[in-house]
Amino acid sequence: MRQTNKIEQLIDNLHDRTSAELDEKTLKDVFSVMEKSTKTQPALKQSNIWRIIMKNPMTKLAAAAVIIIAVLIGANQFSGSIDGASVAWADVVTQVSRVDYIHVYYFKSRDNDVKCDFEAWYSDGKMVMRGKMGDMIYDDGRVQQAFDQHKRLIGKEQSLFAKGQPFFEVITAGLLSHKNEQFTQQTPANVGDDFLIYDLDPPPDEGDFLANVTITVGKSSLLPVQMKIYQEGSDYDLVLFDYEALQKPKEFFEPPASGTSNGSTEIVLDGPEVVMDLVGAEGIKQAIVRLHGKFDGTVDQIPEDSRYDSKFFPKNYKRKGGPVFKLDATFITDEGYLSQTNEFLILWLGETPQGGVGSAAGGLDNWPDGKYRNIKFYPTLKATDREDVFLLEMRCFLLPKQSNTQ
């Protein structure tokens, strides 16, 4: 069998050369752009950005929100220095920590197309987040539950705020934290009549693909009204904040019922496979499950493994601690077809992650009858009074058509 590193070598050896015609044409056009942009760049860019903003109705609303914010923030005056140039970032962090209601719009600009990615509301330690597909996340400060647009529970895990971190600290990946010594003494890069603009380097963990972050802060309130996160290239994320509690959605704070599982079984750690009968999981009649690979060590001891190797797992493990377990699951469809997970799923006790069957969990059309199927499953592992025996609850469903919404 051909070794993977030889395939890599082959790919590395692919080499095309540009033609003289292409070189000539490209350089001619590039130089022409350089000459032109030197003369007209400012006006053209301003016009393009404005056109893009005004084409997008969501952004129009958001632009309106910024104006409203500029008026509202006067109600929450900062009692300290109003000499904008000397306001250290630490003062902003202090002021933010006093806020008990925050509303967030999160936009993404990709390839000059701006779209609202999600909207979130935070109040009294609870958060509701609504995604662009109608999916929802409810976080009550203890547990975070995710529901798809059909109100099916698709994930359950420890709250983002379980360790008492303030909302702003969490959603800014630590930028708005007193612990962030890198920024606490930083003063604004720009000072206007009403706003201060801070220009911050990205958090160390995000530095690989973020260029920098600018945060616009009300000069009187010292509350952030806008955060712009620049990525490599021209893409950026735009986050808008307001503090008007009247805008709370009806979902705040009433998560849907999480529903019942399609099957449950006792399962022995490192024991044999168990066949679970599934009820009410349309298209799927059984699951074969195996629990193994318990890990309860320190972050430094995380085993080398394709899944553990990702940067997400150590971060999550550091936050939540152990133990974790590996679950293999094979599903049997009503037609009697078997499919396996791509690789094991990592489980924390009491949490409900999402698993999928098929290539990169996106489904497959190479089933025996050639039809596409995608199985999504949501296992929950619970402890029992016996150390090596657990209760596994399984919810799952089968998608017979390709869909971008799952």
């Binding site: 540009t18 290239g233 990702s310």
Partner: protein, 184 residues
């Protein structure tokens, strides 16, 4: 040889010679990437042209923290993606190069280098686009999984999965073990 940051700074001040150096430095790699992603030489040449013109347009506000190669490779990826999508060539090209019933590729045929490259191209085009991207951007352009994840707007795990499946499928295709699997 001046590094990219110095060249970019000079380009920002209108230095054409620095732009020419950047172009000479990366043009072939970018063409290779664009062609491997699209399996269309003409489209690949258009993409390289457009990426450099776009680079010239935006260089004034460019704040580069990583390598220019990564930035340009990402631009090539995005432009190829757009071209394939907007011109609706994607499906047509893939169908054109995916035989209705793929034949296993005999290892004996890999002897001649030219033929090997051709076989590799044919095998690459049989991968789902996201897997092909992951494989080429990582191996050929040197992007990290995290950088590819940001481009594809998915998790690093997913990119690693796509990369692994892509490589496995390539290996199987070149060894004649897998027939035309079309998973996504």
């Amino acid at each position: 040889m001046p590094n990219d940051k110095i060249l970019i700074r000079k380009v920002k001040h209108g230095c054409k010679d620095s732009m020419r150096r950047i172009y000479q430095r990366y043009k072939d790699d970018l063409l290779t990437l664009a062609r491997a992603l699209s399996n269309d030489k003409t489209l690949a040449e258009d993409v390289v042209h457009d990426v450099f013109v776009s680079f010239a347009e935006s260089v004034g506000k460019l704040q580069l923290r990583k390598s220019l190669k990564v930035y340009l490779a990402a631009s090539v990826r995005n432009t190829v993606n757009d071209r394939l999508r907007t011109r609706k060539r994607h499906t047509a090209k893939e169908k054109e190069f995916v035989p209705t019933q793929t034949q296993p590729i005999s290892p004996d045929r890999l002897a001649a280098e030219k033929e090997t490259i051709q076989l590799l191209r044919q095998a690459l085009i049989q991968l789902p686009f996201e897997q092909r991207e992951a494989v080429l951007l990582h191996i050929q352009s040197g992007l990290t999984f995290k950088q590819i994840a940001a481009l594809q707007n998915v998790s690093t795990n997913t990119v690693q999965g796509r990369f692994r499946y892509g490589l496995e499928k390539l290996r199987a295709l070149l060894d004649g073990e897998v027939i035309n699997e079309t998973d996504k």
